[in-house]
Amino acid sequence: MKRIVLKELRRARDSRVPATLVTDLSTGAQTLIVGEAFYGDPLPDASELEQVIDQVMVKDKGRTIEAGDSRIFIQPFNPPLRMMIIGAVHISQALAPMAKITGYDVTVIDPRTAWATEERFPGVVLDQRWPDEVMEETPPDRGTAVVTLTHDPKIDDPALEVALRSDAFYIGALGGSKTNAKREERLKESGLTAEQIARLHAPVGLDLGSVSPAEIAVATLAQATLALRGPRRKG
């Protein structure tokens, strides 16, 4: 790998820009594609290459193809998954590090400054603005999970109103069935369609019988993983 390829690849990762690495496995010749830019060697000559690159990026899974005497490996480098956690609460203290290990860029958002502190969330990115303000600046995309955990409609609802209209692959909200029924009414009144509201996972998390905040975090992260990957065994 040429140094420029490594440098530009790392730069794309840092700025959350998708990149594709195309490698000839016989010669080691390599092309890095970042948007319209190409780095390294010229692209190998393979008729289906362009189409395969598109598929690889959408499926987020690398693939090898035959091209003459050699084989070409196409590797996707999509931006890291992102998790926006609304509420600097107990569950978040467990969920943030767990999600980080799982590969998410985590942001904990809570306008209540007494909650979102460095002491309670060492090493976690904290944002003390209102969630809808944060989400307008960095809208949830198809690589984003949004979890609301404050139990306070003043903070959770605005976040959900943005998230449910976005491409976020997972949206979960804390609260039992009564809380959730009331919340659904409010979201309906705010103009969201039944289809949009149906995307909400509430009460948040798979039903593992979780009791402690950490166990609820496990259930939530498990549900987000399921939403992202889908079950391997059907039925």
Binding site: M1, L6, R10, T23, L25, G62, T64, Q75, I101
Partner: protein
């Protein structure tokens, strides 16, 4: 975290480590899982960076073949030639470095230019 290397360091950590070794003047090789058959411990695209001292970051299996990959990576650092390695139950080598899970994988090893 108290450990230097997480059991599952992210792809970005692996690339950052490789870059840091190059900056320090080390020789570095990068191994990438390019194909899998059946059940394999790490998905396609998983990477392992190795320096000339045999230190490494990342993983290409659950730990079963890293030793063999590192040996080949040291060769690649010396001669600069990329290598394709196959591991699996049908491979005689499997008995020595074995994928305990019974999967088969192909690993591409390349030298990183300084």
């Amino acid at each position: 975290m108290t450990t230097d290397i997480l059991p599952e360091s992210s792809q970005d950590d692996v690339l950052a480590q490789a870059d840091a070794w190059l900056d320090a003047g080390d020789k570095v090789a990068l191994a990438t899982v390019v194909r899998t058959w059946g059940s394999s411990p790490r998905p396609i695209g998983s990477q392992l960076a190795i320096n000339a001292d045999g230190r490494f970051a990342g993983s290409v299996s659950g730990g079963c073949i890293e030793g063999a990959v590192i040996t080949e990576a040291l060769e690649t650092m010396e001669d600069g030639k990329p290598r394709k390695l196959e591991f699996g139950v049908s491979d005689a080598m499997a008995w020595e470095v074995g994928l305990a899970c019974g999967g088969e994988i192909e690993v591409f090893v390349e030298k990183l230019d300084a």
